[in-house]
Homo-oligomer: 152 residues x 2
């Protein structure tokens, strides 16, 4: 339904949503999301370029969400790294098809619409409403420190 | 919703479904599907390995469907190159989650279920039931020769 990069971006955003207004280092995010640090660095840069997160370099630096978790949908996160788009005209550019999709691409468009609806109607805040928090070992989550790292 | 390779596989299968029981060369398929020939060769080999098509080498050789278009779903085609799977346990392997998905991966599983339903309930034969045939310029399709190539 979405790329591996989108999965990693969603994990990172969910991790940051668990610690609003706290700068979380790339190393902590990499550990929590189980994403290789180098790969995650690029994903985080893309998310920053899209305006979804903001970072600060140096000691005590890291990333935090740039807005309230209720104002960012999962679709916005996915689209910042690998857009899911409706199909509005023949992907092969066939003149006789144009906007009249053939049955194959009509099905593909139906699937895109379903995916867009599910992720477009879910915000980061929606992920935090029950006790089974995303990405986090329940026991460890209870011990989250204000510095965004885990007390162990 | 699916990979570029899956899109190419679907195009190739739709093209073959338009010519049941006719061997179609990779070159003709590449032209019709607008997929680079080298890339398409690998996709066709994967489809053959999955038992969805069968080929014959040499002069007059090519590929044809290995069974009736009504017996192959679009999901089977997609799964032969890049499987779409339901999420049955935490992708991060978190012990406290296990089969109880967090809200993030529950949404991802909902999207997978929607995609699987749409493509699993559509056969290659379903793509051929109206006049707007997949991948084919309508005018050219009317002139399809029995050799699987187009009369121009």
């Amino acid at each position: 339904m979405y790329s591996q990069t989108a999965e990693y971006a969603l994990r990172a955003m969910a991790c940051l949503a668990l610690r609003p207004n706290v700068l979380v280092s790339t190393n902590v995010l990499a550990r929590e999301t189980k994403v290789p640090s180098n790969y995650l660095s690029k994903v985080l840069q893309t998310l920053a370029n899209a305006g979804l997160i903001e970072g600060r370099r140096g000691v005590g630096g890291g990333y935090k969400l740039s807005r309230d978790p209720k104002d960012t949908t999962l679709l916005q996160v996915i689209n910042s790294v690998s857009p899911v788009e409706r199909i509005t005209s023949c992907p092969l550019g066939l003149q006789n098809h144009g906007p009249n999709l053939c049955p194959l691409h009509r099905r593909a468009d139906m699937a895109a619409a379903a995916v867009i609806e599910i992720f477009g109607n879910t915000t980061l805040a929606d992920l935090l409403t029950n006790s089974n928090k995303p990405l986090c070992d329940t026991e460890k989550t209870a011990k989250l420190s204000v510095h965004g790292s885990l007390t162990r």
